[in-house]
């Protein structure tokens, strides 16, 4: 063996944060790829003779869609609140903020389910319905992952790993990335339709 000088234990290099950033990047391309297909088909449908993209008799409810977007504002704020509190070793506020993020995440999922129910769009209605359900389904799955992330972070933190602030920061990063991804989807699918 070779004589290399031994090193002290290395400083933590933000493993959770980097891993979360990579996962967020993967989630962004997942949704981005589907949005690209959505806009391609929409462009072709609108250029066709009948110019119809959304099936006849189906309207996209904008109010609950806006609620989805608005729900992301407190999610981001509460996530940052958790980071702020964790840095100050404020266990009570960190736990409360993480709990509120999870609660808002559940509300987000609930609002998405409400949209599905009120639209009454059958899945087998052609290209629009396939893309609509795949896109919104994928984003809802990402929201479920976010809620689970919030719950896991809260349990870790409240369970005594209060020095593990990086997990709280990584959790916030996930929700920021989710908010950015959903904002694009909201504009394409719910606003410009």
């Amino acid at each position: 063996m070779h004589a290399l000088p031994p090193a002290p234990a290395p400083a933590p290099r933000r493993q959770m944060l980097v891993g979360t950033a990579l996962a967020a990047g993967a989630a962004a391309t997942l949704v981005g790829g589907l949005l690209a297909i959505y806009t391609k088909f929409r462009h072709e449908a609108l250029a066709a003779a009948d110019g119809r993209w959304i099936p006849k008799g189906i309207s996209v409810p904008l109010v609950p869609a806006n609620v989805l977007l608005i729900a992301l504002i407190p999610i981001c704020l509460f996530s940052q609140w958790a980071v702020y509190s964790a840095k100050r070793d404020d266990k009570q506020h960190t736990g409360l903020a993480l709990g509120l993020v999870a609660l808002m995440g559940v509300a987000f999922i609930n609002a998405q389910a409400f949209i599905w129910v009120t639209m009454k769009l059958p899945v087998d209605q052609g290209t629009y319905s396939y893309l609509f359900y795949t896109l919104t389904g994928v984003v809802t799955a990402l929201a479920v992952i976010g809620v689970l992330f919030s719950a896991a972070t809260a349990f870790r933190y409240l369970g005594g790993r209060t020095t593990d602030r990086e997990a709280v920061s990584a959790h916030a990063l996930y929700w920021y990335a989710f908010s950015a991804v959903f904002s694009v989807l909201w504009f394409v699918v719910y606003v410009t339709k």
Binding site: V18, G32, G126, Y130
Partner: protein, 548 residues
């Protein structure tokens, strides 16, 4: 050279029977996970090559068939899916899992449980995909339930690969030993990082479309997304190049690694070599675009503005990766002349040449005037890239086997088998390229019309016999050499010559730990001050001194 005791705690004693199986199933040791990937990939490679050779011989005479006409589509699907996502990418991941933490001077992977979960997710998804294809599912399959199963299982398999790649990329970004900044990361680990980052961004696009096709197929309607051809139409870009070029990036990193070791020199200029590997990763853009980027036929007659709008995307998507691959080879070639011949060096050079040929052929295929789209040229290019990865894997096993088994592979048989695999790869790929110029039709997932005798998609007036025979012979040769190499590896692992800790006189940290590497890799973390920490400790060679 002076030595200090750097033995980590010795590996746990091997368990026997069921407990041993349980240990392997629940392992989070990166070396074991890597070997699991490599073992599963070797099995897949053998199976896929059998199918590939059968299909090549099937196309020799398009008037008659010796395979069941109804099963040809399924066999093509096994061939495509198998070699791309059960061999190419998993083999590269397997080698990287074993080697990268050792090169980084790290005791373990980042998120080892995630990597383990990724392996099992991939394995379950891959097995389910093959089962679905065999049961008349898969792309263009006739059984709707199993077509559904294929799309979901393939998405699952790819998701598993993404999980492991996230673990690998995070390891390289966060677990490097003190002093190892990104400029000092070993070239192979750097190339793995580029491959992992680009694949983590590329594969979710394929996964998303597989899910979309699943939804459309499960709830059929009059839509372009429904129907059995949807996977072929909408997802096939994920099963071919330029996407598959991403999986060959570590081939070029391996070449640089073994050339530097064999020449006993520091790789200079190092920055451009790293940049060249990264440039190959630009092929990611092709996946993001989801459609082939082609220079239109009649390019010469276009006006100036149209020429630029045609040429710019082509240059970015195809020429930049080619430039990267070319530079990655060209920059290290001057070292080869001064290098001591060895099996890893030979196999590294051969693998990189195959990879470079594949990347160049990919660029050529997308020139509209060449009229190669839709011909077997695409298959030939893909086979060159697959062969490149197979030869690379053989070289990597020869080079790094001491670190997982403590024993060396015999050099001459390994070199011979690697060279024959290279010849097999050339024989498999080049005739398909030539047949492509002769307009032999091809497709990623070819359809066979029901009730029509013969493989109609492959019937054409050119000399199909010669090229398909050569391809069949090449694939058969690869099959034989793969089996022989697996046998050689297993034999060497059991009875091979014991290897020293640093059998190749290496430069990077994996050679600073015992062979085989203990379960936690290093007893003490090392501080490094250059990209070649072990070379710093060794007496300078004559050439090194003259360089200085």
């Amino acid at each position: 050279m002076t030595t200090i005791e750097t033995h980590a705690t010795s590996a746990a004693p091997a368990s026997a029977g069921l407990s041993s199986v349980a240990e392997w199933i629940t392992t989070t040791d990166h070396k074991r996970l890597g070997r699991l990937y490599l073992g599963a990939s070797a099995l897949s490679l053998v199976g896929s090559l059998v199918v590939a050779a059968l299909l090549a011989f099937e196309r020799v005479d398009t008037a008659t068939t010796f395979l069941n006409i109804g099963s040809i589509t399924q066999l093509f699907s096994v061939y495509r899916f198998g070699l791309t996502y059960m061999v190419m990418l998993p083999v590269v991941i397997g080698v990287a899992l074993v080697v990268v933490p050792l090169q980084l001077g790290s005791r373990s992977l980042a998120f080892p449980r995630l990597a383990a979960a990724g392996f099992w997710t991939w394995l379950i998804g891959a097995i389910a995909s093959v089962v679905a294809i065999v049961a008349n599912g898969g792309p263009n399959g006739g059984n709707p339930r199993f077509v559904d199963l294929f799309t979901l299982a393939a998405a699952l398999a790819l998701a598993g690969l993404v999980l492991t790649l996230v673990s690998l990329a995070t390891s390289i970004l966060t677990t490097r030993t003190p002093g190892m900044n990104m400029k000092r990361v070993p070239v192979f680990s750097w190339s793995v990082l580029v491959m992992a980052l680009t694949s983590v961004l590329a594969l979710p696009i394929v996964i998303g479309l597989l899910v979309l096709v699943y939804v459309a197929h499960k709830y059929p309607s009059l839509s372009e997304l429904s129907g059995n051809h949807a996977v072929d139409t909408w997802v096939s870009f994920g099963f071919t190049h330029p996407t598959t070029i991403l999986f060959t990036i570590p081939v070029f990193g391996f070449l640089a690694e073994v050339v530097a070791t064999a020449s006993k020199r520091r790789l200079r200029p190092r920055g451009p070599v790293l940049a060249a590997s990264a440039l190959v990763g630009v092929a990611l853009l092709a996946t993001a675009i989801q459609t082939p980027v082609i220079i239109r036929a009649g390019f010469r007659s276009l006006s100036g503005g149209d020429k630029i709008s045609d040429l710019a995307p082509y240059a970015v998507v195809h020429v930049l990766p080619l430039l990267g691959a070319f530079l990655a080879v060209a920059l290290v070639l001057p070292f080869v002349g001064r290098a001591k011949p060895s099996a890893p060096l030979l196999l590294g050079v051969l693998a990189a040449l195959l990879g470079l040929a594949g990347v160049a052929a990919s660029a050529l295929q997308h020139i509209g005037d060449a009229a190669l789209i839709g011909t077997t040229f695409e298959e030939g290019t893909w086979l060159l890239l697959v062969s490149s990865v197979v030869v690379f894997a053989m070289g990597a096993v020869v080079y790094w086997a001491p670190k997982w088994s403590g024993r060396s592979l015999p050099a001459v048989p390994a070199m011979g088998l690697g060279f024959l695999t290279f010849v097999g790869g050339l024989l498999a790929g080049v005739p398909m390229l030539i047949a492509g110029f002769a307009d032999q039709p091809g497709a990623v997932f070819p359809a066979v019309e029901p009730g029509v005798e013969g493989v109609i998609k492959f019937s054409y007036s050119g000399p199909s016999g010669l090229w398909n025979v050569l391809t069949g012979v090449g694939l058969s040769l690869m099959l034989v050499t793969t089996l022989a190499f697996v046998a050689l590896t297993l034999r060497a692992a059991a009875k091979g010559e014991r290897a020293g800790d640093d059998p190749w006189d290496g430069q990077t940290l994996e050679w600073a730990t015992p062979s085989p590497a203990p379960s936690d890799n290093f007893a003490a973390l090392h501080v490094i001050t250059s990209a070649e920490p072990l070379l710093d400790l060794k007496p300078a060679t004559t050439s090194e001194r003259s360089d200085a």
